[in-house]
């Protein structure tokens, strides 16, 4: 009988310990989630407070009963936020499109075509993956200045196109397509280019989508190169726009309007992320570099 009792005590203790451990784990995870989310909450909250209400709060309020959209109107009228947006969209779309063409063609050559020197060039490409962008940005700056492409979309786009890593990623994916398909297509008289567009690209669509999204994120957040190459407001991207707004726009102290601009800039990528959550997380864990 006492054996049975011991067993019950042990079981009860184990259960209690498990509950306590679970509570600690969940508490820890919730704390980090709050730390991650709080800046987002604060930015949305501040953006819907009116300017006068914000400045009269010595102790900031954690909610507001009188939300206003005036700040969003200010963000689009007092500074050319819409222009920054448009610039960023043009820059992102063009860079990503050119990157895709270059990457697909190169990956096709490396994975499907046979020619002298292919493996040597591929090794050289891989070696280039290790070169930090800080090392090449100096000459690129001088080159673009000499070509008189400062403050132009060409100057912004051209040096941002190349991504050796994406060529590598796509090449690996292309190489998984069985050779038999290629020979079958050849027998039918299909040209290489047609085989690429009609067979390989559809099969590898998931990888192509992944690298497209990663490139879009990269372009949308790029700051350093646009800052070097543009000093004309007409060509500012959102990152530079935000920095400019911070230093000159809205008369410095209009924090709610600033936050409205920050919200507007952050929303597109967050929406993109929520739609393509799995694709993005999978892509980043395979080849993300940030951090």
């Amino acid at each position: 009988m006492s054996n049975q009792k011991d067993f019950e005590t042990i079981e009860r203790n184990a259960k209690r310990r498990k509950t306590i451990r679970n509570i600690i784990v969940y508490a820890f995870l919730v704390i980090w989630a709050v730390l991650v989310l709080f800046p987002f909450y604060w930015m949305v909250l501040t953006s819907i407070k009116s300017y006068s209400a914000y400045n009269s709060e010595y102790i900031p309020q954690f909610f507001t009963l009188a939300p206003t959209f005036q700040n969003y109107i200010d963000a689009f009228t007092a500074v050319p936020l819409a222009d920054y947006f448009l610039n960023t969209i043009i820059f992102t779309a063009a860079t990503t499109a050119i990157m895709l063409i270059v990457t697909v063609l190169a990956a096709f050559a490396f994975s499907r075509l046979q020619f002298k020197g292919r493996d040597l060039v591929f090794t050289l490409f891989l070696a280039l993956m290790m070169i930090p962008s800080e090392l090449v940005v100096i000459t690129n700056y001088v080159t673009i200045t000499n070509w008189e492409m400062r403050n132009s979309f060409m100057g912004l786009i051209l040096p941002s196109v190349t991504s050796v890593f994406y060529i590598y990623l796509l090449k690996e994916n292309f190489a998984q397509i069985p050779d038999e398909l290629y020979y079958a297509a050849k027998v039918d008289g299909t040209s290489d280019f047609k085989y690429l567009t009609k067979v390989m690209i559809p099969i590898c669509k998931p990888t192509i989508v992944t690298i497209t999204i990663l490139k879009v994120i990269e372009c949308w957040n790029s700051y350093v190169w646009p800052r070097l190459i543009t000093d004309n407001e007409n060509y500012y991207l959102v990152s530079n726009g935000i920095q400019y707004i911070r230093e000159n726009g809205f008369g410095r102290e209009n924090i709610p309007a600033m936050m409205a601009a920050v919200v507007v800039i952050s929303v597109p990528l967050i929406v993109l992320f929520l739609i393509f959550r799995n694709k993005i997380m999978e892509g980043v864990s395979r080849g993300g570099t940030k951090g």
Partner: protein
């Protein structure tokens, strides 16, 4: 065969042109720049060849400040963020409910604009005429006195910079570590459980060795990333980083190239090569250490 060769190169041509112009040529050029003394970017002339640019950069107080800041940032953020990410991932893999929700939330900082969210951090920490700032009010609540984290003492600014850097780099580390933990073969855990192994022992003797390659990968990329810190600092302290004593090595390179003190591509090149040498050295050291401790 000739035709096939030509075709292959034709498909590669766009990539080779882009990489040639914007990676290979700059790579060679940056070394040349760094040895050209007295380079004038307007007339594109220089006096001579030598190591003066390096000795100038190494004696420049702004560079030394940037070097110091970058090293402090690296030493604080890399171990802290990796350790914290390990704890969070271990926590994540031990729960089942709402795990996806947590993962989604934790990943959010990755897809947000560093400059934009940095502005929010600045507001949370900044002391203005109107308000002490939320963080200071919390400090006051616990009986501490206010500190101006954005325009105040050096350590306060460094604290915010480290905090923000960690906040920014966590998503990537959590994501990679969580998938590494998920890929550990469950048989090991089951075997250990049958033997009655304690949780702590399971963690140090099974989990850590099994994920050690990933852990070292994260440490290496973490070092490289932290050495290249720049936009986080700009987001918090603005573009005048030298004045704020918060410049980083990369910031110094860009300042030398462009901006208030700009127009010196030679100094910028020398600084870039010094940075590259530091990163390379640290990476090699990391690899040597990892060879001893990592179980592949």
């Amino acid at each position: 065969m000739e035709k096939r060769n030509l075709k292959g190169w034709l498909y590669l041509l766009p990539a080779i042109v882009f990489l040639g112009f914007f990676m290979v040529y700059p790579l060679i050029d940056v070394f040349i720049y760094s040895f050209e003394e007295g380079y004038n970017s307007a007339s594109q002339t220089f006096f001579g060849v030598g190591t003066y640019n390096y000795s100038y950069v190494l004696r420049d107080p702004y560079f030394l400040q940037a070097l110091k800041n970058t090293f402090i940032l690296v030493i604080i953020t890399v171990p802290l963020s990796t350790g914290l990410a390990l704890l969070i991932s271990a926590g994540l893999s031990s729960i089942k409910k709402v795990r996806n929700l947590f993962q989604t939330v934790y990943f959010l900082p990755y897809v947000t604009n560093t400059l934009a969210v940095g502005l929010v951090f600045m507001i949370l920490f900044k002391q203005t005429d109107y308000t002490e700032g939320l963080v200071n009010l919390i400090i006051n609540f616990f009986g501490g006195s206010s500190v101006d984290f954005i325009g105040g003492p050096y350590w306060a600014k460094m604290f915010v910079l480290c905090l923000y850097t960690i906040w920014v780099v966590m998503p990537f580390k959590i994501l990679v570590l969580t998938s590494a933990l998920a890929s550990v073969n469950q048989d090991y855990y089951n075997a250990a459980r049958i033997d009655g192994t304690s949780r702590m022992r399971i963690f140090t003797k099974i989990t850590l060795p099994m994920i050690s390659p990933t852990l070292f990968y994260l440490i290496i990329t973490g070092f490289i990333g932290a050495f290249k810190a720049y936009s986080d600092a700009v987001a918090l302290f603005g573009t005048e980083l030298n004045a704020a004593e918060m410049n980083t090595i990369v910031g110094y390179i860009y300042d030398m190239l462009y901006g208030e003190g700009g127009g010196y591509p030679s100094y910028a090149s020398a600084a870039a090569i010094i940075l590259f040498a530091i990163v390379l050295t640290i990476t090699v050291i990391n690899l040597l250490i990892s060879r001893k401790h990592v179980h592949y």
